[in-house]
Symmetry: C2
Subunit: 279 residues, 2 copies
């Protein structure tokens, strides 16, 4: 069960609750995780925790559970491998610097080997995902000598997603610590929580939280996930081939196909299976 | 007390013992640390733990203490700030990718504002250190389209160190996960431990270890530090302006000035003080 999780907020927020449910999906608590990673932006800085060890003794999982790191932008990826052992260098999210900012990228899907490559940014590991990330950054750099406006960035990333999804399944979340971009080829959901905050109950574990007790009326938190994490809230689904840009905990731009297609969970899982992705 | 620590080995080794003494110097255990970081290569992968919080509750310090991560190349940096709060993006070591490998870099010293800059690699934070790292990588990339031999790399880095130390104090440790380069402007020491291994006693804490009980005759471990970490072993000193390349736990190249100058600890500290470095 290879899944994506993103959080974009207007105030530094801890992701403990979402991560608790999310991490269950990789079998974190029953020794079946084949690698996961989570990156937190803090200001311009970045903390990236990667784990390739399928162990409940994982120092990283332990750290995330025990210390609620607060961030306005966080991305996590959890993987159930179908082939071989996950090595550290193949573990998402990936990190690079562009325009004097760190970028984080996580991918769920797979791209054909003939997907475009880059020269300057080079993958360290062997994944199609890191290769695509490097290609995207190189293209962005080629188009803009410095960080453009968010709208220009959105248009450029939208074109790149359209190009790359021609090579396969391309569900991604990426961020430069300010803006979060999420693109769906198949299954991806989001929720934008804001005042009045309510109670939320995890799907994957019998755990609830009353957000009203830990938020202020001005807080806004967007959460993006491969599948909804809670069962008593309304999660919105990305259309296939839709790109959404989140900033300060809300949607600021979206590019939805004219005739949007929404997959059922079963259809999405079937597509992933056919593509050989352990979705 | 701003210090560097590097470890280069021929087999994955944990740095717990050295880190235990090293971390004392930043006041880790008495709440006075103003930021520290440690990066571990594992194969091509990299784990980088950064901490800008002066707290004994630090999740990162706790993690390093409790989990002996094994690595062939590790670099740590600990800082006692003289000015302002350390932010995450200003915390060493810094990480970038070059030639499809991650590089780690930590610096002790300070460079004048007119030190050269780079265009492609850009600093995320505000330190002269990250600026110098970006400049070095950009120059290396300009000279070599792909990773050259270690000897060519050594010569190029030696030229870059000679150039950069004209701008100020430039004690550095850097690594691509295979080779470790250490350059001293003022104070830097190393020890290459190999068979027969003996007993070592930390200077900064009453703690000893008998390496013979945890090593095999083939193990080789080089440790580099601003000041010796143990008081019953012979640490060798870098000459001023000397660059040494370590690989598989031993020295493979060095460039020592023809008339080497070795500073006393007092002279080194005085130079650091004059340069405004909280050494």
């Amino acid at each position: 069960m290879c899944q994506l999780l993103g959080m974009n907020c207007n105030k530094p927020t801890d992701i403990t609750f979402s991560f608790q449910g999310f991490s269950k999906r990789g079998g974190l608590t029953d020794h079946h995780t084949d690698g996961f990673g989570i990156g937190f932006f803090e200001g311009q800085g970045l903390r990236l925790f990667l784990d390739d060890q399928p162990s409940a003794e994982s120092p990283v999982a332990d750290l995330i559970r025990r210390y609620p790191i607060k961030s306005k932008n966080a991305i996590a990826h959890i993987r159930k491998a179908t082939q071989g052992r996950t090595t550290l260098e193949n573990t998402h999210p990936f990190q690079r610097e562009l325009w004097g900012r760190y970028w984080l990228f996580a991918h769920n899907g797979n791209l054909k080997p003939d997907a475009p490559t880059s020269e300057y940014y080079q993958p360290v590991g062997k994944t199609d995902s890191e290769k695509a990330f490097c290609y995207m950054l190189e293209q962005l750099r080629g188009q803009f000598a410095q960080r453009p406006s968010c709208d220009e960035l959105f248009d450029a990333i939208n074109r790149l997603c359209a190009e790359l999804r021609e090579y396969g399944l391309f569900n991604i979340i990426m961020s430069d610590g300010e803006t979060m971009f999420a693109h769906a080829s198949s299954l991806l959901y989001y929720i934008c929580r804001k005042h009045p905050f309510g109670y939320a109950h995890l799907i994957d574990e019998d755990m609830s939280i009353d957000f009203s007790t830990i938020t202020t009326p001005n807080d806004r938190v967007a959460v993006i996930a491969t599948l909804p994490l809670t069962d008593n809230e309304t999660w919105e689904q990305f259309a296939c081939n839709e790109l959404i840009m989140f900033k300060q905990g809300e949607i600021v731009r979206r590019s939805r196909p004219e005739n949007p297609v929404y997959l059922s969970r079963e259809e999405g899982l079937e597509i992933a299976r056919k593509a050989g992705v352990s979705f």
